[in-house]
Symmetry: C2
Subunit: 399 residues, 2 copies
């Protein structure tokens, strides 16, 4: 039984307490003030084994945990923001904010990375690195107001990673079984791009629907789902997926005798394409959906198609070393096929790799079969998985 395991087991109850505090008070992107205040309450004055340095950036809050002079800098990342989802778990520590919840597990990430600071400051482990703990704002929904950029983008721009030679990011995944860590070399997550299609049509009285496909903006917007699939499917061997995420048309009952003249459809479009191919796909989507809508509606409706680039693909460099370090401490690391989630840790990782460093993004199993997916009202990951996450971070810090 490693000292990392013992330290993590020791701190699990404290991490659970911290996680539940954060969970009850979720804050959406670019409004994470309360969460940052809570993080800042952990200070080093009551400990003798490390000193803490605080840095406020636009992209988030950075806590340096200094264990010695001239140690190399290793960074870990926790994301701070919650999602616009009404929690329906019924948990005693459920979100107290209507319509907002930590439905992606960022609350667990915060508690784990805080656990690192506390374990080091209390002398439970002795790192071979000074640690830069990145508490990053606005990971979710790049492109959305009030600032389309993400926290990771800003942290990389602001120099928060200068001098960092290794960056590791652990993300819980409720659909993977607790007890292992899962990752791979190279691309692990995709470009998380969004397509917004605004249809403008003539509309009309529902009784006059003989030429509905020409004039009913809702009917036309519904067709955008198969239209995007038709564009993307020929590229399917390249691991591309698209999925509708929103559609707004009409005003419910109060307009229930009207064929809407406007509709807005939102679709996710996720790929591993590099910058040039990605841009070409976006241009193709804009051109083809506009053309398809015109043809479908006999030139009586039009589509304004916007592609909002999300996070770039997340690409690992250094998985072999990451894996051997963890396995040497008795932690199971399983190979995982890449998936088309997206994370702005990619901005941070790209920066570190460009400077010659290493970057590994990995998932921590936090549930398994029967656990609700991320981004759902029932999301309720296995919080005991934080123990393995902290154990892994500590093993890396001491490697």
């Amino acid at each position: 039984m490693s000292i990392y395991f013992e330290a993590a087991a020791n701190l699990l109850p404290w991490m659970i307490e911290m996680r539940r505090q954060v969970h009850a008070h979720p804050e959406v992107r670019w409004s994470e003030e309360g969460t940052i205040m809570l993080i800042k309450q952990l200070n080093s004055s009551s400990y003798s084994h490390a000193s803490f340095l605080h840095h406020d950036y636009q992209g988030g809050f950075v806590l340096d945990v200094i264990s010695g002079i001239d140690l190399p800098i290793m960074a870990f990342r926790a994301d701070l923001d919650a999602l616009p989802i009404q929690e329906e778990t019924g948990l005693p520590f459920a979100s107290q904010v209507p319509g907002v919840s930590h439905a992606c597990g960022h609350d667990l990430h915060i508690a784990m990375v805080l656990g690192v600071a506390r374990a080091v400051a209390a002398g439970l482990v002795k790192p071979t690195h000074n640690l830069r703990l990145l508490f990053q704002r606005a990971e979710e929904n790049p492109g959305a107001p009030p600032d389309p950029n993400s926290g990771g983008y800003y942290l990389a721009q602001e120099g928060a990673l200068i001098g960092v030679t290794k960056l590791y990011v652990l993300h819980v995944l409720s659909t993977l079984k607790t007890g292992s860590i899962y990752s791979c070399e190279g691309p692990i997550m995709g470009n998380s791009d969004r397509v917004c299609v605004k249809i403008k049509a003539l509309g009309g009285h529902v009784a006059h629907n003989a030429d509905a496909r020409d004039v009913n903006a809702l009917r036309i917007a519904s067709e955008c789902i198969p239209m995007l699939e038709a564009i993307v499917n020929p590229l399917a061997g390249r691991n591309i997926s698209c999925e509708p995420t929103g559609l707004i048309a009409g005003k419910g009952q109060s307009s229930s005798n009207i064929m809407p003249s406007e509709a807005e459809a939102w679709l996710a479009c996720r790929t591993y394409l590099g910058a040039d191919e990605r841009t070409a796909l976006h241009e193709g989507i804009k051109r083809q959906i506009s053309g398809n809508v015109a043809r479908y509606s006999n030139n009586r409706a039009s589509a304004e198609v916007t592609v909002i680039p999300g996070h770039p693909a997340t690409i690992n460099h250094g998985f072999a070393g990451f894996k051997s370090t963890l396995e040497a401490s008795g932690i199971a690391v399983l190979d995982k096929a890449p998936e088309l989630g997206g994370d702005d840790a990619s901005h941070l990782g790209n920066y570190v790799v460009q400077q010659g460093g290493e970057f590994v993004y990995a998932f921590i199993g936090a549930g398994g079969e029967g656990f609700a997916d991320h981004h759902t009202p029932q999301f309720n990951p296995d919080e005991s998985a934080m123990q393995l996450g902290l154990e892994a971070y500590l093993a890396l810090a001491c490697s």
Copy 2:
């Protein structure tokens, strides 16, 4: 040239002025107070040829125009309410209320029926009937808040039609050429029923969309359009139509990485079926859509299906007499195939016919090719068509 033509031509400028006043200040169902106040400003004190009696009902305002003792009572109907549509005509007298407009021509109906009162009171014509002018609230969107019932339903219940032997309702139609009146014997418009489908699904992260049709409420709600069509199409020989009017899922950009767990679809379902067959169809829709959603989603999503009965079908009794009266005055009356609009004049008409009277609902051409359809932001009927409407009402009043 008949005296009806002359009277109507004489009053057209006044009707246009009244219509534009109403048009600029539209009021949605059950909020027509300002419109009724405007109507009440027309009083008989300055005229010597008829006296006016005012009656306030829950269903609207009724103006009796009394020309003599013991004359039979003939009723005309004007509907008062506007629609929740943002006007985009750019007209100088366009709606001054954001998001609300007279996009169905009720403003023209009000001006025409007021024209009847003024023509009779001024002695321009000499009716053989006392006239009951029904200014009826809440014709649009039966089933919607704040009161699901319509104004016509209440007027019939409240006794506003007691003693009425003939009821005529003229409705402008912008897609028919100005200059003629169009109607038929028997059914002319349909049961204007609504179907609301609320989908509850698991939702999920957009990257986990391998089983999207099981969990994405938006994808499932979009399928309700073909599902309803599949139920209704086998009855197509019976003149049945369905059309989507609304779909709400997700929160646009702020939820653009989430497969929605909820979606609400609205569909219009219009038929000429009698009461029993209509009820059977509603039960079939509820049962089959619920079952289809369960099957489509592999029992992982559920649908709550509500059918909101709209106005009953509009069924004319007495078209031959109506037509011969108008043709005798030189007014062109063309046969029109029934269409699946809906109007709560059916409540009024059913009442009169049950009492042994006559009821004819007819369209006045008010535009033609190139004119925007009813219920659209660009709706702008030919207001000169009010002249023919008034001419017809006066010819009927004197028949």
